[in-house]
Subunit: 134 residues, 4 copies
């Protein structure tokens, strides 16, 4: 299992007239959390794209338990429970202290520059083999 | 069953460096579709908020089948299959001509200005009773 | 002079907790207006990019006179007063009926795929020569 | 003169298909910088709003010198050169190391909950008097 934590401060731009964070604005935070997790594991996504590998989102799901407010300091925890194969599944929790505000997941697969599905780059697969070795 | 269709032209701002629409930018389109559906049914959401009723999002799910590109002219179809009770469930399909690009759903419940769960306003419930009468 | 008008309905996502449209969200509307103006003139920007010409923004300025609200139906008027040379200057007005809500401008120049400044494509220059002929 | 620096890491969501940051996405960063500056000076904006004072944007201007890329670590420097009176003027520079990417300014004035122009709250004026005392 890989787990990573990243800190987010809510921007005014991310609120809406209901007075809290617009539900669509959690997806960029999930993306910040993924970027952070991959970088921590030594496989920065920026580098993957330079090598011609892209990781689009195939599926997302989110459940909103409590609102987040402007200027709140939040933690987004991202978790990869299983060694990724063709599909990569990541789970997320958005926390304000002990409170769980939002939980969700994303599913991904690698494509090449032309948009065709491809196997993960060797650097990625090898690192995952190490991380998920028992 | 209530169904509504709204036209969306993809904005440059909605793309990302992968060359197509960022996955998080479909949620505002779903919201445009909901706004349109409620207005068509004679219960504009703007009016509901003026009366003190808010309809936050409790849950969303999206599956991305094919990318949407800048300047594409898309249709977002929104569907309410069941008469809403405390919970409101809406389904969406994003289409480019005959192609299904994205499918998804949102789930909602009414709250009042203080954020407490409330029953739907009478105007809403009565209209839904008519629309879903057999 | 070239002038174009496009209709925008304010999205919930575009508001913030002040209760009206977030000031940053007018820039995508200006972009929608530019896209519309170029398409009306027979030189769709999408086509320019396919030919390897990109039109990044070099400068913007906006003045906010009155707020725009969720679900407002607005008109964005874009105007090109002078025949573009190396630089392209466009002015914008956001209107709700007769009320002027926001005015602004953007300045652009063409670059190629590698990011180097280039002269406008022939198709663009020729069309502009016709449009601005006296 | 008040000056503040805040760190921003570019999100994938903030890029567009030109391959770098969409020009409209600098305005939320300016807002992050303002929030940070006011908090550093002991007058958090969140608190001002709780007391019924809002600080909408009246005017912005931005000049784009060089592009910012996904995952870049940037610094946004915000500067208030003159003691604010009815109007508040703030300048910004977005830097990647020594490189100046974007420069800009925003102009603000206080309004109350009903949207009427008001004088700044006493806590704000007093703090500014101290900060700009010679």
């Amino acid at each position: 299992m890989i787990q990573s934590r990243v800190q987010i401060t809510v921007r005014y731009a991310e609120t809406d007239q209901m007075g809290f964070v617009y539900h669509g604005n959690y997806l960029p935070w999930f993306e910040v959390a993924r970027t952070h997790m991959l970088k921590e594991q030594g496989i920065p996504y920026r580098q993957l794209e330079k090598e011609g590998f892209f990781l689009p989102v195939l599926e997302v799901g989110l459940r909103y338990h409590k609102p987040a407010f402007y200027d709140d300091e939040l933690i987004v925890v991202s978790t990869m429970r299983e060694r990724p194969s063709i599909r990569i599944h990541i789970e997320y929790e958005v926390l304000r202290g002990d409170e769980l505000l939002v939980s969700g997941h994303t599913r991904h697969a690698f494509i090449d520059r032309a948009g065709r599905p491809v196997r993960p780059p060797a650097s990625f697969s090898e690192r995952m083999a190490v991380l998920f070795a028992t």
